[in-house]
Symmetry: C2
Subunit: 269 residues, 2 copies
């Protein structure tokens, strides 16, 4: 249980305070906050509340969205990422997950160049704050407007282009990468390079009825989570397994029952 982390968006109907209280009461080890959790609140207070409740703060979701059609748009994004870094520092989150962004119609190679430039522009700010950055490859079905980084290999290429700074790594989410024939090799490489900064779990349902908000609970879909977890742990990864599930179906449930289901599914893994 001390390696189980839950993303607050998984129990979206709950307030920030409810998430902290209920996760803690259920014995969950860690919490990943989403930025909406900080709305109208002091990040340092939220961080203290979580720590007081015995929760390890794993990361803050999410920075990124670096590509833009104009330099002004890209600068706005860089500024927002710096703010996100400041928030993470105040919160006490050692990591920010980057959903890197894409502009519909712009070549993905150009977007990846802008993503690399964007990360380069905020990297020193992150290092000064003691906050690491994790590039999250997103499933190719999000390549139109959410991320031009769609495979672990592409995330590695961006880390390489940045000169492999220790502060920039990869967030591996089974939902996005389970289908990739190179997956084990790319996880191994992330281990070798010290780039495996986060590990997210959920499942892929058949059928999936919504591109965004129909993720499955671990065990109800086609992803071989035990095998991928073994690969991840095999690299020496000792971080938490973060449950991140966007689901209209589960958000409509009683959230206490939903949390109990998550914990049961995690224990069955």
């Amino acid at each position: 249980m001390n390696r189980l982390c839950i993303h607050t968006i998984t129990t979206k109907p709950w307030t920030t305070e409810q998430c902290i209280e209920r996760y803690s009461k259920a014995g969950v080890g860690g919490i990943t906050f989403w930025r909406y959790n900080l709305d109208g609140r002091s990040p340092s207070t939220v961080g203290q509340q979580a720590r007081d409740a015995g929760l390890q703060i794993v990361s803050l979701c999410r920075g990124g969205f670096f590509p833009g059609k104009t330099a002004a748009e890209r600068q706005t994004s860089i500024d927002d990422n710096k703010l996100c870094i400041d928030q993470a520092q105040a919160l006490g989150a050692p990591l920010i997950v980057l959903v890197c962004g894409a502009v519909p119609g712009q070549p993905l190679s150009e977007s990846r160049k802008q993503i690399t430039e964007g990360i380069a522009a905020v990297q020193a700010h992150a290092e000064a704050a003691g906050v690491r950055l994790a590039i999250e490859p997103l499933h190719p079905m999000y390549a139109d407007d959410r991320s031009a980084v769609n495979t672990m290999r592409q995330a590695h290429e961006i880390c390489d282009a940045l000169g492999s700074p220790a502060s920039v790594g990869i967030a591996a989410d089974v939902y996005h990468i389970w289908w990739d024939p190179e997956l084990k090799a790319m996880i191994d490489l992330a281990g070798e390079k010290g780039r495996l900064h986060a590990y997210h779990i959920c499942d892929w349902k058949t059928p999936t009825t919504d591109l965004l908000n129909d993720r499955g609970l671990m065990g109800e879909g086609c992803i071989n989570i035990p095998e991928i977890t073994q690969w991840v742990d095999g690299t020496g990864f000792a971080g938490l397994r973060e449950v991140e599930i966007f689901s209209h179906k589960y958000w409509a449930m009683d959230q206490d029952e939903w949390l109990a289901s998550i914990i049961n599914a995690y224990k069955r893994l």
Copy 2:
């Protein structure tokens, strides 16, 4: 216009006979039939009707779905693919598009092995019938239950494993492969190997509201179709550009207006 082909499923509300009549009247060069078009009809009669209407029959959609949990299931699929080959021969379709299949929860590598074995089992039958087979890589969002072949590279690997028979090639559909960073290299390779058997076009809408039936008309999405078409034609490909659009939205339209929209979008390309 003589290089424009339409898949009958694009105008799904029309009967087989309506598709033939309306496509012909509109000056469309070719037609790809779906197997449901043959229900209750003689394939050879349908083929003759299309040729009499001046339409080139490009292919029959679709064979495939080779993986199965049991040998009996896989044999049923092989038998059905042989039937599909017989239908294509009677129809006068020189090509069958293969949606290769996947079994939820079965390792994709195992499904690809079964796909290779399945194609091997029907290849002689196809060659005897004068019908070619085209492996269609499907978008990774269909890796759970529709196809374990999700990139052009994987399609090439299966062709290689089969010993590169001239009868087995690839159907390149922009919807499935547009995001692939290796796309140009893999199209070029298909040209070199003589494997580029078919080229399908449509577009990827932002947002896409349905995983299956919300494809866009060329020009309304993020896919750079002119560039990919240039790559395809650059290999010496002289086949037809096949419009294949599954769309609840467009199927709800007056289908004559929809056909006119398709032709306008094609001309604008």
